[in-house]
């Protein structure tokens, strides 16, 4: 009887501690809201990129994001690599890919005149990186109220739960709750990192999630016309561009996972054989 009571008391204490621990993040000030799950095709060990989605995502980046955000580490040729948005099995290689060449040719990049050596602008080739919208970081900051828009090349790796984070941030802008003082030129987003405590005049126990972001809500319904007829809702565009950035952050992710299966299969077989050898060698040796 006493023992049962003791045990249930112990359980109650454990439960209380557990609840306390579980409740901590929800109440802590300065937390961003956990990203929503977009259910991306590339998640999990078997996931692969959806090429149509990557193409739509590239279009959103090209028509919306690239006005302010650079992707310095991404080259046009990467778009035509295996698993990339414009991969063409018939192309000799990524640089010969006709889609890639056409996409690159839409841009002009600084070069020199090969005859005179004078600075000129020339059409980009598959070997060029995505051009930067600003000549340098200072110009980028000056054009954006002092905060340079971050480079998006590896953004999905540079944030926790990157793809879902980008999707949630882009589609998650909200009216600031009453009681939250917003600085001029800033916007409230519950998924942005930050601490709202100094700006909050409401109940100190319920400081809103999230932070301020200098980027105005970049997407509105129908902003992009998708070539495959997909409806360009904010949610859809956010999802597609998040998928594109996830791909750009790690173009070899699918190759990595597929290699992993071969490696694991090999290692498991090797482990089995080695264990059998181990049993055989040690047979009859007491140890």
């Amino acid at each position: 009887m006493t023992r049962t009571r003791l045990r249930s008391a112990g359980l109650a204490v454990l439960a209380a501690v557990g609840l306390g621990l579980a409740a901590t993040p929800a109440l802590a000030a300065g937390e961003a809201k956990h990203p929503r799950h977009a259910g991306f095709s590339f998640e999990g060990p078997f996931g692969t990129f959806d090429q149509a989605q990557l193409q739509r995502g590239y279009k959103v980046y090209r028509e919306v994001c690239s006005a302010c955000h650079s992707m310095n580490l991404v080259y046009f040729r990467t778009l035509g690599e295996k698993g990339g948005p414009f991969y063409d099995a018939h192309a000799e290689n990524a640089a010969q890919n006709r889609y890639v060449r056409a996409i690159a040719a839409e841009f002009e990049v600084p070069g020199i005149d090969t005859e005179t050596g004078e600075a000129i602008l020339r059409p980009a080739t598959a070997a060029d990186a995505f051009p930067n919208p600003y000549p340098n970081a200072t110009a980028a900051a000056a054009a954006n109220g002092g905060a340079a828009p971050p480079d998006l090349s590896v953004m999905a790796k540079a944030r926790h739960d990157g793809a879902n984070y980008i999707y949630s941030l882009l589609s998650g802008y909200q009216e600031a709750p009453a009681g939250l003082a917003i600085n001029q030129g800033q916007y409230y987003n519950p998924y942005m990192a930050g601490d709202m405590t100094p700006f909050w005049s409401g109940d100190p126990e319920h400081v809103p999630y999230g932070g301020f972001i200098a980027m105005a809500p970049p997407l509105r319904d129908g902003q992009v016309t998708f070539d495959d007829g997909t409806e360009a809702s904010v949610d859809q565009m956010a999802k597609d561009v998040a998928a594109f950035i996830a791909w750009a952050s790690e173009p070899k992710a699918v190759e990595r996972k597929q290699t992993g299966f071969a490696v694991l299969a090999y290692l498991l077989l090797f482990a089995g054989l080695t264990y059998a050898s181990y049993r055989r060698i040690w047979k009859g040796v007491a140890h």
């Binding site: 501690v17 306390g20 621990l21 409740a23 901590t24 109440l27 802590a28 060990p45 310095n72 580490l73 990467t78 971050p150 480079d151 090349s153 590896v154 790796k157 540079a158 944030r159 926790h160 990157g162 990192a193 952050s249 790690e250 173009p251 070899k252 190759e255 990595r256 996972k257 290699t259 992993g260 299966f261 490696v263 694991l264 290692l267 498991l268 090797f270 482990a271 080695t274 264990y275 050898s277 181990y278 060698i281 040690w282 040796v285 007491a286 140890h287």
Partner: protein, 438 residues
């Protein structure tokens, strides 16, 4: 075991010629036939696993160095270039980056095994001390390597850690400038860190040779913790090959399976997302944390309110390991026969995990729930600050107080006369034997 007779007989003319001039084949053959206690369990496989880890890090590191550019303007981009454009570069880099974590998982288990079975006690003090040197070099190498990708955590980690040197009175400041190659962390720092990161693994490899030399001279410890008497050599030992090559081999493959899981399916799980943001000296990350394997020491550093005191405590936490052979007063090696010490050891294990956990938390954050208790000196009692202090105190008490005291006062269980006995007749209690020096 050191005086193990060589059984190698050169067969061909070339072997005979070589054997009288440079007996390198004999060296290898003797190594393979080394009599090894036959009761070594899987905790003893981490030595082999660590040798493999070192080789993997050196080989992948040499390849990475062919493509990496140690320049603040290009380092970050060159790492991403390896990930995107170098053939198999993503694999080499992920193996190297996760390899560091795997190396530390293995070394911590290896050290805990040594601690549990008393592998540091006479006549094996030098094996342990050289091992501590290797561990210290590993920490230094890992820290230097983490700076190279030149991400935000690289830069700010280097900032925090080099600043610690500045806390040393009088000489701290000049050493700090010398170490950084200037008044702040910049290109000169990155260049020398790259150079040292390439150098230290070879110093580690040299120490590994000493570690093995000492090991084969003093003979391997075993879970029972007794020296094998001369007349029981034949009964209680087996040749290293094939018995332990196959056992170590099996363990290595299991380890590689875990390694492969991280490399191929979760390669960034053990790193910090902020390190994919290029280093920016003007923007401090919200929360600077070292890699997981440094967290216990980072926690100890932050537990002490005084900066220099924190540095002393952090280095002290490593330095204390060197003198363990003389702190432990027990005559019995293996904790199998030391029930009291085993309890303290298990608490120590929990404390180490606890310190690691604390190292990743904000010191002011509450441990339980979201309520204040009362301010004790400089922080709320319900905070990671005080939990860390409690755990830090136990860490040092374990080595400096419990080890000497428990060794003198405990009554160990009877230890068997040879390692075969508890193995061959596990249920028959050994004739009550008083603990004796072995």
């Amino acid at each position: 075991m050191s005086d193990h007779e060589s059984t190698y007989v050169p067969k061909t003319g070339v072997e005979k010629w070589l054997d009288t001039r440079l007996p390198i084949v004999r060296f290898g053959a003797d190594y393979m036939s080394l009599p090894t206690p036959k009761n070594l369990n899987y905790w003893y496989t981490f030595g082999g696993i660590l040798a493999l880890c070192l080789m993997i890090q050196i080989v992948t590191g040499i390849v990475l160095a062919m493509h990496y550019v140690p320049n603040t303007a290009m380092a970050f981009e060159s790492v991403e270039r390896i990930m995107r454009d170098v053939n198999g570069g993503w694999l080499v880099r992920y193996v190297h980056a996760n390899g560091a974590s795997m190396f530390f998982i293995a070394v911590y288990l290896h050290m805990l095994r040594g601690l549990y079975y008393g592998s540091y006690k006479a006549p094996r003090e030098m094996i342990w001390i050289v091992g501590c040197v290797i561990f210290f070099l590993m920490i230094a190498t890992a820290f230097l390597g983490y700076v190279l990708p030149w991400g935000q955590m690289s830069f700010w980690g280097a900032e925090v850690i080099t600043n610690l040197i500045g806390a040393v009175p009088v000489v701290g400041e000049p050493i700090l400038i010398w170490l950084r190659g200037g008044p702040s962390i910049d290109n000169a720092t990155l260049n020398r860190f790259f150079s040292l990161h390439y150098l230290l693994p070879f110093v580690i490899a040299g120490c590994v040779v000493l570690h093995l030399w000492a090991l084969h001279h003093a003979g391997q410890n075993n879970p029972v913790g007794i020296l094998i008497p001369k007349d029981r050599q034949a009964k209680d030992t087996v040749p290293f090959h094939p018995y332990y090559t196959v056992k170590d081999g099996f363990a290595i493959i299991l380890f590689l399976i875990m390694f492969a899981y991280f490399v191929f399916f979760n390669p960034n799980a053990l790193g910090h997302a902020d390190n994919y943001i290029p280093a920016n000296p003007l923007v401090t990350p919200a929360h600077i944390v070292p890699e997981w394997y440094m967290l216990p020491f980072y926690a100890i550093l932050r537990a002490i309110p005084d900066k220099f005191g924190g540095v002393v405590a952090m280095f002290g936490a490593i330095a204390v390991l060197f003198v363990i052979p003389w702190l432990d007063t027990s005559k019995v090696r293996s904790m199998r026969y030391r029930p009291q010490m085993r309890t303290f050891f298990l608490i120590f294990l929990v404390v180490c995990f606890g310190l690691g956990w604390c190292g990743g938390q904000l010191p002011d954050a509450h441990v339980i729930g979201d309520f204040d208790t009362f301010i004790l000196i400089d922080g709320d009692l319900n905070s990671y600050l005080w939990l860390t202090r409690l755990l830090t105190a136990y860490y040092f008490i374990f080595f400096l107080v419990l080890m000497p005291l428990v060794g003198l006062r405990e009554k160990p269980l009877p230890i068997p006369a040879s390692i075969s006995e508890p193995v061959l007749s596990p249920r028959i209690p050994d004739a009550a034997e008083t603990p004796k020096a072995v």
